[in-house]
Amino acid sequence: MTIRRTVLKGMLGLALAASVSGAALAQDAVKIGLILPMTGPFASTGRQIAAAANLYIQEKGASVAGKKVELIVKDDTGTADVTRRIAQELIVNDKVTAIAGFGLTPLALATAPLATQAKTPMVVMAAATGIITERSPFIVRTSQVVPQIGSPFGTWIAKQGTKRVITIVSDYGPGHDVESSFSEAFKAGGGQVENIRVPLQNPDFSPFLQRVADAKPEALLVFVPSGVGAQFMKQFVERGLDKSGIKLIGTGDLTDDDILNGMGDIALGVVTAQHYSASHDSPENKAFVEGFKKANPGLRPNFMAVGGYDGMHALYEGLKKTKGEGGEALVTAMKGMSWVSPRGPISIDPETRDIIQNVYIRKVERVNGELYNQEFETIPNVKDPTKAKK
């Protein structure tokens, strides 16, 4: 008798606890689950995107199509299984209209089948490996696709008359993408290329740089995770490679706006290709940068931030069209959407749901005492070349 009562009491307590956490669900709210790396080595990615997403809501108001917008930020802890579980919980428990964020490719890939299964739109705001959008018809990407940058950059470099390039990339998905897309385009343009891969966790680049010094190419293309790039450049300069006539080039990750200013003079003159620079000259961008800096003192928006900002824009505009409805309707609404983002004109490819955008060739220069990637050439409306070929 006594036991039964105790057990009953316990069950009641548990049930109550469960219902309380669910009761907060307001019917007329649109919830967006934002899953980002908030801790660990890629934490700065998460910070940038979260800050930009919040900025967007702040600017455009916390309601769309008559519904209140609620952003739920979660830390992905850098592991695929946790990311997937969090996404699943957001979908099943919080009944979010869309999931967004995704800092790293494997985490996005792990979640993709879920989006299909639950018919929940998934906006990728950072991860940049080509295949991601092919994994689910519910994925829309507002960041970039690596070959989108690498391939035109390879062509451009070849066009400048450069003949021999060495690439150094971190040994993981995006790195491989950069390596292959750049090399392919560069070779097609008549160039010669040698590829070197370095471990992702690599404290000292000197052995790899020494190989480069021995080979004496005309240019060295580098792709390492944002942040590590600075270290790389320091060692590049320290080794005197800058003076030996080897040009340092790379995708924009190398001269990430987030940390560019801290790098100092060593970064001056580095040529990169990327879809966004904080110094992009347009009224949209001026407003964006200003708003961002005001809301986050000491932080300069980078390409991650703009991915988050545009992702929110796609969602807002899509929701307006569907009158707050999610699911397939929302994906359809986002397909083909085009607008002028802080980075320039962009659109969502209706076929691949990947982003189409301008790619800029930039050079690091000092402007008003601060270091910026100054754009000097534009390659307009670039699609993901890999998908375009199919």
Partner: protein, 285 residues
């Protein structure tokens, strides 16, 4: 090739300065302090702040990093480490991992999650050629400074009274106490000094290894490799272990880049299987 050797030595030197405090405290109190890297990170951030906020020159920031980390070591040893000596190794591991977590989140909160940089003075940047070997100025500076430190420590450890008392305490703490050697005080000082060195290593390493809040976790494995391979209770053991790892890592990556990260781990496993008590452990009866 000689340039590679040179780079490897510089890298090894930094590893040594970072890890040698850990090795001595481990030998002395049989305490596994995985939070050693947190002191290194602390030293690094002190340097960054001192240079960026206070505008101290690099050479002045280095001692600041050393003393700040040493002071932190001294205080923490007194407050939280003391009760841990008597506990099991597992408890110590857990406790110090807890400290690492706190340090990482704390640094993130205070300093942000992005990479930090320092501007080296001009006379330390760039490189020059010496008999065909490319010599990086900063790496040369590291080798000279850390080499001098290692030499001074070896001298202090083997030639001074403080050193002989310390060695006596490591050999047999019970008898050392019974003969009037204040083992606890020695240990507190050594702990503080080791933490200070870690702080200095962290400061010197910003340029080579970078500095962000995940530093203590990222390099924990390297410290541990140096200590386990080098053995505890000497200065020369960890020194040679750090050199070996530094050179092997750099040369390995240069010669066979495909194998990159394997080399250091494989080397450790092989060394530990063949010499379970460390590379330079004295044979035991």
């Amino acid at each position: 090739m000689l340039t590679i050797l040179f780079d490897g030595v510089a890298y090894g030197m930094i590893l040594f300065v970072l890890a040698c405090g850990l090795s001595v405290t481990m030998g002395l109190m049989n305490f596994i302090n995985l939070a050693h890297g947190a002191f290194a990170m602390f030293g690094g951030y002190v340097t960054v702040l001192a240079m960026q906020r206070l505008g101290l020159p690099f050479l002045m920031a280095l001692p600041a990093a050393f003393f700040a980390a040493a002071l932190a070591g001294l205080v923490l040893e007194r407050l939280v480490y003391r009760p841990m000596y008597a506990k099991s190794h597992l408890d110590q591991v857990m406790f110090s991992i807890g400290l690492v977590f706190m340090a990482i989140a704390g640094a993130d909160y205070l300093m942000g999650s992005s990479q930090q940089f320092v501007q080296l003075p001009a006379w330390l940047s760039g490189r020059f050629d010496l008999a065909g070997i490319g010599v990086g100025r900063y790496r040369l500076f590291i080798i000279l400074l850390c080499g001098a430190l290692a030499f001074a420590m070896q001298w202090g450890f083997t030639r001074t009274r403080f050193g002989s008392r310390l060695r006596a305490a490591v050999d047999d703490a019970r008898v050392a106490r019974g003969l009037g050697i204040p083992v606890n005080r020695l240990f507190a000082l050594t702990f503080a000094f080791g933490s200070g060195l870690a702080g200095l290593g962290g400061a010197l390493g910003i340029e080579l290894m970078g500095l962000d809040p995940t530093f203590p976790l990222k390099f924990m494995i390297y410290f541990l490799i140096v200590v386990t391979v080098g053995g505890t209770s000497t200065i020369s053991g960890p020194f040679f272990a750090a050199m070996l790892l530094g050179v092997a890592d750099v040369a390995g990556k240069y010669l066979v880049p495909q194998l990159g990260a394997f080399i250091i781990y494989a080397l450790m496993v092989i060394l530990l299987i063949t010499r379970p008590h460390g590379l330079f452990a004295r044979g035991r009866a």
